[in-house]
Symmetry: C2
Subunit: 409 residues, 2 copies
């Protein structure tokens, strides 16, 4: 098994077979940059999807969910627009989404319910479906199973992201090689709430042969330790989607228990999740939280989320400020069971809190220097059990406020 | 009944009888400004208190709670230091707190358990009790029942606040006049979680004669609609405290059902709560949320809190950005029962969302202009029930980040 994080182009020969990609400018992004990404499977691909847990769901979430149910988990076309979320757009939003799906189905010779739509961008503005429909002929002309087109797909789904997010892996299955490649977007409104239906925009393609039910299990298990473990701002989007497609073009069959495939998929999802955090809006520090010694994994996760969502903690990180009392405060209101006098905290290798109080030889300057790193680790041992989790989050900077206060993003 | 919001000095003759006040510089604030506020009741006053719901509690929270239990709800001395929270300071923090209480008891001729301590400031740094003890003789010299000293008390409890927060009321009880006056501090880490024990630093004094049990009821009812309805940054402090003392010096007895007294106390608490929000760190907009049409008041509160804690909503407010989709998104993940297509939203008098979608004649510029006001109202009708709440919160600005990223606040 070989897993690599990619910033843009995949290496030659690493693209999963059975898919073609394209991206064009349909005219939704004010910048005029490409905003319509399409992937077409040569044959109906096995599909597993997870959607946002937000009770306000964008039209494409409803439509995509319905299409997957109708097709029995088969997808021919993935159609993703950036620049408009098609959310809080009422009945006309649903119609706009169906219009795009129907046109894509005609263009690529698929059934309407074999088209999987996604949208990302501003909420509450009607989606100009006609622009997307008008762009489909150009999409068809450009479709190709090349790393260049895959990179174009990865780029056109971006909104406030500063760079594409790509990861891939090769997995040996018997005497064959299976390819997996994934792309993601997301830099704000990032706090996926993963009910069995959740996340941001992530598309993972593989040429392994996998039944939809097995694919679902694989996806849920991978998401639980990756996209379910990140937060930038604690906001859960109305449009989060993770889609995993298996074309079978490699001729190698894989089930949900295949160790190497499971590991590769989890690595890809973790890589994409961390890339999303790393590219968070205004981010200057990426923090890995290691919570341990909780009475349950669920309690450990509560502590991680309270810390990851605390403006006071996140602003202290922005200033490389070793104000660990804010970590204590967030731990205290997390809802997790704690005994304050048993809490210990480390910044990297430096222990700064023992038995709920400051270590006697606290070296504040050393802690300050460590927190100047772009990436670092904070470990909190609650000291009362075996529950633990890893979680990735960011600081909260003036730049984040500037980006999101900009009228109208 | 007469209720007024006061920025500094109370009017003559409005100070509750039976209390004397003083504030001195003990040397905890690096600025050298007064940092030790003391109130002394001539006779043991009836007392009711509510403390933070954070599971990490500062030493004075533990000590104050214990003292109230031991004294049966009687307080002679209130001793508040700013500049050090005495939290996450372990056993030596408890000892430091007890040392200050014991010294104050000796100075003012009280029992140790008649002293009610509070601390606010940085977490995790040992409290230099000796500085507070050394300042007690000067406190004793200065003690006086004057509006000047009351103002000094209100000033010395401040930390990152930019101004003191004071409110008072006069209530006619039979042929007598009862006085109530309160002070508050708090500008960050403001999101009181009000279990029957909660909030930030608030001290309310009255010269009505009220038994501790009645006082408890009055305080809980008032806090529920005031301090329980504000949030600046969603962080719940380790030190939040609301203390209500009744000296009885007016000679007028009041019970928990006295309508005018109840109303005056609630007005004072609401005034202080809104003053805290108005003085929030880096705040440029104060927002009153009116949530209605929820299936329960609890659900309405969930929606208010989700909105009040959403960085994306709060940064949009900073930019006067009528990006109401972010309100929809936060409503969606609030956990409240909703039917998105029944949601309606107003900015002041302007309806911007109907049936979960944008109003047909949405006037974005008008909405933008309205959101330039420092104070405004956002009303959300969920359209599915009778549950409602009012809630006050703020925007999230670059200045908030600057204040809290400043190494080391």
């Amino acid at each position: 098994m070989q897993t690599m994080m990619q910033r843009s182009l995949l290496p030659e020969n690493s693209l999963p077979g059975g898919f073609r990609f394209a991206a064009v400018t349909a005219g939704l992004k004010p910048s005029g940059r490409p905003d319509f990404s399409v992937a077409v499977a040569d044959q109906p691909a096995s599909a597993a999807a997870m959607f946002t847990g937000n009770n306000v769901k964008a039209a494409p979430i409803h439509v995509g969910d319905r299409h997957l149910q109708r097709s029995g988990g088969r997808v021919r076309v993935v159609a993703v627009n950036a620049g408009n979320a098609n959310c809080a757009t009422g009945e006309i939003g649903m119609q706009a989404c169906e219009t795009v799906c129907a046109a894509a189905a005609r263009t690529f010779g698929a059934e309407g319910h074999e088209v999987f739509p996604s949208s990302t961008g501003i909420i509450g503005v009607p989606l100009p479906a006609e622009k997307l429909v008008a762009a489909l002929p150009e999409v068809e002309r450009q479709l190709a199973g090349t790393t260049e087109n895959f990179a174009a797909f990865a780029n056109a789904i971006l909104t406030t992201d500063t760079r594409p997010k790509v990861a891939h892996a090769l997995v040996s299955v018997g005497d064959r090689t299976v390819r997996i490649a994934g792309v993601a977007k997301g830099a704000g409104m990032i706090h996926p709430q993963l009910v069995p239906h959740a996340t941001m925009l992530v598309y993972v393609f593989t040429d392994a042969a996998i039944e939809p039910a097995e694919l679902n299990t694989l996806l849920h298990d991978a998401v639980e330790v990756s996209f379910n473990r990140i937060s930038i701002d604690g906001d859960t989007s109305t449009n989060d989607t993770v889609l995993l497609l298996a074309s079978g073009a490699s001729g190698a069959a894989v089930d949900a228990k295949h160790p190497a495939f499971r590991a590769a998929l989890q690595d890809i999802c973790t890589s994409l999740a961390k890339q999303i955090v790393d590219d968070g809006e205004g981010v200057t520090h990426v923090v890995e939280l290691q919570i341990e010694g909780a009475t349950s994994d669920a309690d450990a996760l509560k502590v991680a989320k309270a810390i990851a969502h605390s403006p006071l903690v996140k602003t202290a990180w922005a200033g490389s400020d070793p104000n660990w009392g804010r970590l204590m405060a967030a731990t205290g209101y997390s809802g997790a069971q704690i005994e304050p006098e048993r809490i210990a905290i480390w910044l990297g290798e430096q222990q700064i809190c023992i038995n709920g109080g400051r270590v006697p030889d606290f070296d504040k300057q050393r802690a300050h220097e460590y927190l100047k790193n772009r990436e670092y680790t904070i470990r909190i041992d609650l000291g009362i059990g075996q529950g633990k989790c890893r979680f990735w989050t960011t600081d909260l900077t003036e730049e984040y406020v500037r980006i999101n206060a900009d009228y109208s993003t």
